[in-house]
Amino acid sequence: MTPTRNRAALPNQAGIGLRHPHLPEFLAASQPVAWLEIHSENYLAPGGPRVAALERLRGDYPLSCHGVGLSLGSAEGLDRAHLARLRALYDRFEPELVSEHLAWSTAPDGTFLADLLPLPYTHETLQVVANNLDLAQEALGRRLLLENPATYLRFSEADWDEADFLAELVHRTGCGLLLDVNNLYVSARNHGTDPVAPLARLPLKAVGEIHIAGHARVVITGSELLIDDHGSAVAEPVWDLLAAALSRTGPKPVLVEWDTDIPTLPVLIAEAERANVYLREINHAMG
């Protein structure tokens, strides 16, 4: 059985990713934000102002911890030392939610590549990720939400569709789903598929959190590619896809991610406010 010890749920409202440039404003005054998300790996240092700031803010905001380095897709299993570091962080801050990605970032020789790299969806990798998820949930003492990735390439060998692969992982490991709507859109556009179609196949009952973010559009030698750079406002088609997702999941905590070209805090909060409008509409619609 999956251990569950998350002390409370995140509110079904919009939250924002806590970024270093905004720490002084958060420390100076309470901000109109329902909850915060951090990248776990940014808070693993033994001391210093960032950890101290999180210590202070933790009491005032519900918290989601988003891991970017566990490498659940790694064929050689997980880094036990890294699991121990994450466990210590989560035991210290007791986040309401903990999430990771369907991706890999640590190579078989231990090199960390600092990006969320893609994996083929095969019977073999399904077993790899399921084993890694079991180990991670056990070692962290928590249920994980697994995020659907933004991908730029696919592999010739594939036994599973991505949505079915995720559904099978949820079924086998008891993990939840972090539905990243921007990733859904970016991947669909990059692979020439319909972004709405996966909503019919993804395990939406397991959704514990939704991500939205901006993406970049690059055109190289005449063909367009969307890059999940979290460096701009959420694009209109992604807002539409959010509405489509919420109509199926009901209200959920929605996170606005903005990681490069980070805007001023009021801009980020305004983006979260717009997400709250969508959440209120769903609440009304569901009565």
């Binding site: 380095g69 064929a75 190579a107 090199t111 960390f112 600092a114 790299l117 083929p120 790899v128």
Partner: protein, 263 residues
Amino acid sequence: MRWVELQTSLHQAMLAHSPDPALLALLAGPTGERERRLAVYRNNVRHALLNVLEAAFPVSRQLIGEACFTAVGLTFVAQHPPQRPVLYAYGGGFPGFLAAFQPLADLPWLADIARLEWARNEALFAPEAPLLTPTRLAAVPPEQLPGLSIWLHPSVRLLQSRWPIHAIWDAHQPNGGPLDAVDLKHAQSVLVWRLKNAVVQQPLSAGEFVLLTAFAAHRPLAEAAETAAGDDATFDLATALARFLNQEVLAISDQHNGNALGH
């Protein structure tokens, strides 16, 4: 191909100059498109790691220029990628890499500036420790003072250079000193530490540097002071101690339990 082999091939493609044709054959989509798609990941990986170096070594970057820093940084990244998923600790090998990098040999102080910047990075993330305050030191019985060992705060880093590294660093800050006033013949020792949650640095006199180095080696106070005075005729223990106590450079160690500084 087993996933572990494919993963290794992808890893190599992230840091190598051009991808293995055997790998491209395993990807989906039009042939020309596959290499371009793979390059998106390669670009992400290299620039994510380069960004870590840019954040940790901003003055080194100013000294050699952005384009040169990008080139040397990407070379370092390809040859010495991180071995742990903990990026605040990535880049410690960069100063040594710069020191051995022949094309930059005409900037002999560059590697020491990078060492200073890495010391600042380490100070930012170092553990907390209870401070040794003037009151607490004053409570030590006088007869125990000579044998007392004093600890440095875990954020403290001591650097010694044959170049004026503090002055060069300071001249590259937004409100720093004038660059043309920097005397390149002036060697400098620098103290880096975290004061009230911010990283700060100050140049040290020869005696102060010797004193703090002796503290770092857990030499008893009397011995540390004697060595400092032997090296620097202008050294005054009372002045130096007052400065370091008031600036939160000194700490109480767990090992002080049971001695005169114990809780």
